[in-house]
């Protein structure tokens, strides 16, 4: 298991390196190598998670280590899927190192044994956790696209046709990819919410227990809802929606980590170490 993790870290690093090389050298083969290495890392990463699942009987996301491990996994997943649909190689230079760093952090964190409430071994929790992480992965990628969009937009507006202008794709492509990520992420997260609510109702007899994480998640969900609404009805395109996508993701990070250190609640125990 440790052996597998080490190889996985190595392939992640190599993949990140070739994507970064691609940014500078702009040779097609580096992005290709990066992508294959990423796929390889992803397979190993999935195996690591699957072994964890097999050993404990539940998704290994009940401590910070596991949570970050799965967050990293979902970013890889979304990028691999996205690569099928869009020719956005440059996005790899942002998202692959991100996945790599998260994975690295996860391996360095202590694996604290957490007492797991047996009621958590429910299919609802399984779907809840998977959907939440996958959705957040999509939002992370949306945030990367938004960042690239702002960089490129700045270059075009200010007539700075240097390093980034040449390497980044068109505004239209970045904008529409960001949009796709947000739509997909939103749909999946909504599913995660519903399953969470159903589980809460079944276990505790109430939909919402005013857990701080629940409240903040609701705010985040609303932020993205507003963004999608604005896009559809008021034509929030480009810069505005890019900024919103970044704000939304910052909220997610805060919800994900910050809350657990600041407040108490039944989500908190999972991200302690």
């Amino acid at each position: 298991m440790e052996y597998l993790k080490t190889i996985c870290v190595l392939t992640y690093i190599l993949s990140s390196v070739s994507y970064i090389l691609f940014l500078f050298v702009q040779k097609e083969r580096y992005s290709k190598i990066g992508y294959y290495l990423l796929c390889l890392s992803f397979v190993m990463h999935s195996t690591v998670i699957f072994i964890g699942f097999h050993e404990t009987g539940h998704i290994p996301a009940y401590n910070l280590r596991g949570a970050i491990m799965i967050a990293s996994w979902s970013i890889s997943l979304v990028y691999i899927v996205l690569k099928f649909r869009y020719e956005l190689k440059i996005l790899g230079t942002l998202s692959v190192p991100l996945a790599c760093i998260l994975f690295l952090i996860a391996t360095q964190l202590p694996a604290t044994e957490q007492f797991i409430n047996p009621s958590y071994k429910s299919i609802w929790v399984f779907i809840h956790i998977t959907a939440m992480f996958a959705g957040e992965g999509a939002f992370a990628l949306a945030c990367c696209c938004a960042l690239l969009f702002l960089i490129q937009e700045h270059a075009i507006k200010n007539k700075m046709h240097g390093f980034f202008f040449k390497r980044l794709p068109s505004l239209e492509l970045l904008d529409s990819t960001c949009n796709t990520c947000i739509n997909v992420g939103f749909a999946i997260i909504t599913l995660g919410f519903i399953t969470g609510l159903v589980f809460a109702k079944m276990t505790w007899g109430q939909f919402i227990s005013m857990d701080p994480k629940e409240i903040l998640s609701a705010i985040t969900w609303l932020t993205y809802a507003v963004l999608i609404h604005g896009r559809l009805t008021m034509g929030w395109k480009g810069r505005k929606s890019a900024i919103m996508a970044i704000i939304g993701f910052l909220l997610i990070i805060f919800t994900f980590i910050g809350v657990n250190f600041l407040f108490n609640g039944h989500h908190g125990e999972f991200t302690r170490f």
Binding site: K159, H161, L171, W236, K237, G238, R239
Partner: protein, 422 residues
């Protein structure tokens, strides 16, 4: 022994008046190739004639004589005294000639480094020479290497990557904003060569509709017809901003034609879809403050010129890489040429024969029952003299002062191929 020679003039060595006088049309080229290929001194010949250069690439056993023949022919044909163009000619021989043609085809020698037309023109020159069969083993080989080198330079360096004309730079920018231009709508305000060129580029990138607005509606209609577009009245510009994506402006107006307020008002109706203004006019037609509006981008002539200057610098940097590839190609080609000479060919042929004979002798030894040294010597003597007899005539033919063999290289090439000496 043959030499490869290149004689010619280009935009650096001769004025446009002179180049015009010496230029050849395709039919002229064919005629000249036939006529000169019949002359004694010139063996293989190829002519490159473009608006920036006229060059003769040929092989000859007697360089001096062939150059004189060529100059005389030019003077007769074009009715210009030799002294009027002699000083404008440059001459390259052998490796330098190869290097020169490599550089020309890769557009390292062009007025605008990296321009793509020259490769097509070189291909055409080669095609003409091939059809009248004035190119032979050497020039064919040289031209193949030329085309390879040019393609390699185009793919491996960024020599032709960035736009170096105003209209092209504008299109590249539009692509950075819209991705694909397919299905986009463009509005041309005013008229002018540069603006029309940009519209042509847009059409080539499959822009869906072209609208033309001109102060004189009649002129607008005429122009719209040319692009298969729609003419609109000058007053309709504002309402059309709702639907178009790219605006190219080039009018003689001394006031802004498109003002900040017009765009600001329309953005909401456009649902904030991007709007790209290309302002080629001086004084400017488009209010530069429009650039501050979200999702609206304004580029004026200075901005575009700035891009072009940067790109030219970029191309010059890439050209250095191109020169390196040229050097490599010259080296490869000159190795091939060296091998194609008489003496190395004879040596290689002898060695090949000897090798075969030795191999067979050894086999024979094994089949014989303990051959004595005398037997062995006799066998070797026999094979040696067979080789000498077989090679006698070919070698005298190659070594001799064989004026009757035109294109000696042709023979050498065939010989090397027949006996697999390469």
């Amino acid at each position: 022994m043959f030499n490869i020679l290149l004689i010619g003039l280009n935009h650096n060595s001769a004025s446009v008046e002179l180049r015009e006088k010496l230029a050849f049309s395709d039919d002229d080229v064919k005629k000249t190739l036939k006529e000169l290929a019949n002359s004694k001194d010139i063996e293989e010949l190829l002519i490159v004639s473009t608006c920036n250069r006229v060059e003769f690439l040929f092989t000859s056993k007697d360089s001096e004589k062939s150059i004189v023949t060529l100059k005389k022919y030019l003077a007769d044909k074009k009715q210009i005294p030799i002294k009027d163009f002699e000083k404008n000619l440059y001459l390259h021989t052998n490796d330098d000639a190869a290097k020169h043609i490599f550089r020309v085809a890769s557009s390292l020698d062009s007025m605008m480094i990296g321009e793509p037309q020259i490769l097509g023109q070189i291909k055409n020159a080669f095609r003409l020479a091939s059809t009248v069969k004035s190119s032979g083993a050497i020039l064919n080989r040289l031209m193949h290497r030329t085309l390879n080198t040019a393609k390699k330079i185009r793919t491996e360096t960024g020599i032709g990557d960035s736009a170096v004309s105003i209209s092209y730079a504008a299109i590249e920018l539009a692509k950075k904003i819209f991705g694909s231009l397919e299905g986009k709508k463009a509005l041309l305000v005013g008229a002018g060569e540069m603006a029309e060129l940009a519209v042509e580029h847009l059409l080539r990138n499959r822009v869906e509709d072209i609208y033309v607005a001109n102060r004189t509606f009649k002129n607008g209609v005429k122009l719209a017809k040319k692009f298969n577009g729609t003419a609109i009245k000058f007053e309709e510009i504002e309402s059309n901003l709702k639907s178009v994506d790219i605006i190219i402006s080039s009018t003689g107006s001394d006031k802004y034609v498109i003002k900040n307020k017009m765009v600001k008002n329309i953005m909401k109706e456009r649902k904030n879809r991007s709007l790209f203004f290309i302002d080629i006019a001086v004084p400017r037609d488009i209010d530069p403050t429009i650039n501050k509006i979200t999702n609206a981008y304004v580029y004026d002539i200075d901005d575009l010129n700035g891009i072009i200057d940067d790109n030219i610098e970029e191309r010059n940097k890439e050209a250095v890489k191109g020169e390196r590839i040229v050097e490599e190609s010259v080296l490869k080609f000159s190795t091939w040429v060296e091998e194609l000479k008489v003496v190395p060919t004879i040596i290689a042929l002898r060695e090949k024969m000897k090798e075969i004979a030795d191999c067979e002798i050894n086999k024979t030894y094994r089949n014989l029952n303990n051959p004595t040294d005398e037997d062995k010597e006799a066998l070797e003597r026999m094979t040696d003299s067979m080789i000498n007899k077989i090679l006698h005539h070919p070698i005298t033919l190659l070594k001799g002062n064989n004026n009757h063999i035109k294109r000696e290289a042709e023979y050498l090439n065939v010989l090397r191929n027949l006996f697999d000496l390469n």
